[in-house]
Symmetry: C2
Subunit: 239 residues, 2 copies
Amino acid sequence: MPNPTAAMIVIGDEILSGRTRDANMHYLAGQLTERGVDLKEVRVISDDAAMITETVRSISDSYDHVFTSGGIGPTHDDITADCVAAAFDQHIDVRDDARDLLAAHYESTGRELNEARLRMARIPDDATLIENPVSVAPGFTIKNVHVMAGVPSVFKAMVASVLPNITGGAPLLSATLRINRGEGDLAGPLGVLAEKFAELSIGSYPFQDNGIYGANVVARGTDQTRIDAFMRELKDMFA
Amino acid sequence: MPNPTAAMIVIGDEILSGRTRDANMHYLAGQLTERGVDLKEVRVISDDAAMITETVRSISDSYDHVFTSGGIGPTHDDITADCVAAAFDQHIDVRDDARDLLAAHYESTGRELNEARLRMARIPDDATLIENPVSVAPGFTIKNVHVMAGVPSVFKAMVASVLPNITGGAPLLSATLRINRGEGDLAGPLGVLAEKFAELSIGSYPFQDNGIYGANVVARGTDQTRIDAFMRELKDMFA
């Protein structure tokens, strides 16, 4: 059975303007790979309501899981929850279970649960809350879409809350060989070898390191025996 | 006149598997912002021919410029050039001008211009070459799509070759104020202020720093006077 598939939507003008460097994509990619879920596509889009709604709607039909990052805080530019609700034609308002979480948290910290903070309790009717052990305000899952915060520490905590509920496939295994030779020299033989091991995905990632041209050759697949066999032949070829 | 728009397509399984952390998106985002080109969307997709072709075709209709990163080397998994050609129904083969560049380079370095390296001279008929001062093998521009290498040092060099040919708009200016107060406290007043300065884009980016909750408030726009006025009012509000 093929692995389940996933896509990610990163929401935030601050990334598209170059102000902030996104860290969540790389983190999620690693977590999904470990779990045997194939991340097929990532889209980074701006804080634009129509764009968010349309992207969620179209992408959620194409993949088993969709993860979003960003735009669920208390400020005026946090519009993700409402846009995801719109994508699924769902009613959204402050929900009692989410409000109770926030009320308890702010009471214990002596801060006010004001109107702005209450925005973080806006949850679509049919959604399930995602626990946030860092700053309490929850994410949510609706259908196959997991809506999470953009702050990296909160994002990581929410991923940890969601992943145990997802059935993964065979974990993707990989092995890497660093070859200190120009990609142009190894491309021919590597192509032949890749055809022989057609069930593996063979990638070549060139580097330059203090004037040395080389490439990291990576074999990926779910069968360790075949990966080992590939690596043996690769080493023999370029030893 | 509104600024020209752009999208980026990052091509590479190694990023989606979490093996490599992409650096080119953040770099390009900063460069375009400086130049007054609005980066509206980034898509990260795998080394899949149908996916690359379809993404290039659909996205090039929606934006003034499209930048791609990755998949133009000599190995079997470098399929971007052929996919971009297919997206525009263009003939592609080894082109004399690109071959001449490679031949001179490999002759001077005493390496062989073999069949694999010749793949890097595959350029669509109507494309213009993008200079690569780092490792010679060129990128190319066809219609509004700029096809560039994934290796960060080469990507940067190619961006520098392309950008002078692009007419930008008014550079996007910005100013940031760090406010050591929870987003929930500043959200209400900030929303009112954002409405007053509707021609600016006002973003709030929460952080946690050693247990302190705060937010960086960023004002973006093309009119420095208005940005300054916004920042004065913001400081007065939270001083």
